[in-house]
């Protein structure tokens, strides 16, 4: 539908591009920027379009027919994927949802608490606490993940759900965003007025500040959800039992086995296609009432 609009508008705007600098009526479109952006969109959508089509192909069609020609094997591929190791793929999907959903929820809670405290109170050590937390953003994950594994091994919690969940609860970027949103969304005099009415600090946070911070907290949740869903290094290091694998790790092991058995290629491709759907659906749904700009800390004035 969108590409149709370009085709219609294209020739009309192209015909008098020589007069591009002259003041133009409102309706004209800026051709070069629009085309540049559409080209960018084609580049990003290309692999996605490929995996959508490739997942419809049977193993035989994958290697024999033109790549952008849909095949006939989608339902069979789905069945094969569901049957692979008694449906472990769906378990991986469930695990990813658990790690990302629960992890992001806890992370958002911790970020909201810390962000609120850092934004509304003046206390000794406030800036140092904030800076130390922010330094966490700069720590390369590897200097954390390997010793995290060794320490958790001492506590006997490696290869468990906790070993992947716990290290990802504190998100320095989440705290940073929460502080910005709390500072912008929670007016100091509202907090002060509530205090005068005798509300306790905890009550002020849960009943007054938190509802005001909701749009920002949705952003923190989404950011952390994506970060955990996409994480590979941490589960790769922590887990050995594939019943606890998230999707990223499961697909990786499937591909590693598939390199010897091209028959597994169709499974990997179908699995990759299904793995892409949930997050894209999530973003398409939330963008109706939420703006992408919030991710970079933009605050509406």
């Amino acid at each position: 539908m969108s590409s149709l609009a370009v085709r219609e508008a294209g020739p009309a705007a192209g015909a008098d591009s020589g007069t591009a600098r002259a003041p133009r009526p409102r309706r004209r479109i800026a051709l070069v920027p629009t085309l540049t952006l559409v080209l960018g969109a084609v580049y990003t959508l290309l692999p996605v379009a490929w995996v959508v089509i490739a997942s419809t192909k049977s193993g035989h069609e994958l290697f024999s027919t033109f790549t952008f020609l849909p095949g006939t094997g989608f339902t069979q591929n789905l069945k094969d994927l569901g049957a692979y190791r008694d449906g472990i793929y769906w378990r991986w999907m469930g695990n990813s949802a658990l790690y990302a959903g629960l992890g992001a929820l806890l992370s958002t809670g911790v970020s909201a608490l810390s962000g609120f405290a850092l934004a509304t109170y003046r206390f000794r050590g406030r800036e140092s606490v904030f800076n130390v937390l922010l330094a966490g953003v700069l720590m390369p994950p590897v200097i954390l993940a390997v010793p995290q594994y060794l320490l958790l091994a001492k506590a006997n919690v490696t290869d468990s759900y906790l070993s992947v969940l716990l290290p990802q609860i504190l998100s320095p970027y989440g705290v940073y965003l929460a502080r910005i949103y709390a500072a912008a969304a929670v007016p100091g005099d509202v907090v002060e007025a509530a205090r005068m009415d005798g509300a306790g600090e905890w009550r002020i946070f849960t009943r007054i500040a938190l509802p005001m911070m909701i749009p920002g907290m949705v952003t923190v949740f989404l950011f952390q959800f994506v970060a955990v869903w996409n994480n590979f290094l941490l589960p790769y290091i922590m887990l050995s039992n594939d019943e606890r694998f998230p999707l990223t790790l499961g697909l990786y092991t499937l591909l590693a086995q598939g390199s010897n058995q091209p028959a597994l290629y169709t499974l990997v491709i179908t699995g990759a296609f299904l793995a892409v759907i949930p997050l894209i659906a999530l973003f398409l749904v939330v963008q109706r009432f939420w703006s992408l700009d919030l991710l970079s800390g933009a605050v509406k004035s």
Partner: protein, 325 residues
Amino acid sequence: MTSATQRRAYGAERAPYARRSPAPARARTAAAPYAFLVPAAVLFALFFALPIGYAIWLSFRKVHVSGLGLGAGARNEVWAGLENYTDALKDPELLDGALRVLGYGCIVVPLMLGLALLFALMLDTERVRLTSFSRLAIFLPYAVPGVVAALLWGFLYLPDVSPFYYVLDALHLPQPDLLDGGALYGALANIAVWGGTGFNMIVIYTSLRAIPAEVYEAAKLDGATPFQIAVRIKIPMVAPSLVLTFFFSIIATLQVFSEPTTLKPLTNSVNTSWSPLMKVYQDAFGKGDIYAAAAEAVLIALATLVLSFGFLRAANRRNKQEATR
């Protein structure tokens, strides 16, 4: 101060309604931020500070094997001084990996941020169409895990299934091996550029939109073209967010791990120590030498911090020079 005394008077008046807390309101208020920060502090101590400290400690240790290394007490952990570090710095595998990643970063960072800036400027142009579609489409790879991105592109690089090779074949053109030699850098860089451009575009676009419209008015009256406005006004005004995206891109690029690891099954050109992070993983879990791995991890962290902060300082110094000019 008056508000504090007022508050106390008001609180006293309302004493019958005050709940639970026996502490005076001010002490309670003073303690509250610390209480709110307890979860973050505990998590930071357990999963950031402690592991970093432990990694540094391990990097100065080694296993001393006495006798044949059999029986209890034959393998002891002893102080190693800087031995692990000198070994790591002399290790050709680590150095080769570092050079590979530097080369890879020199492709990824400028290309990704150049594209992100270009798209952000295009989005910010007047009368541009289809912006919400393009913006979402370009941002979409952010929601695709690096492993899946590498997997998708990995298949697109494979001659048997790739549409590119299909076209090349139909036109009787030479078919380069994208997963070998110099092309491998391009192949890996493409995955990172594909995945990272959208997020950076959003960051830059957000700061572009924060520029008040009046700034452009004078330039427009003087007859400046959109191109001139972009280069002379917009880019300098979003310089801080460019510096920030550059800074974080350097850190992320030097940590590259999942993309080459995912491509490894598809090609022999990616070995187990292609990137320094893969080397750390290999030493820690493949060879079981956690001491060497710890020293390497500390070195990588130091190199990352030196490079990223070095860039930040250079950028700030330039800004200051320009400001004083």
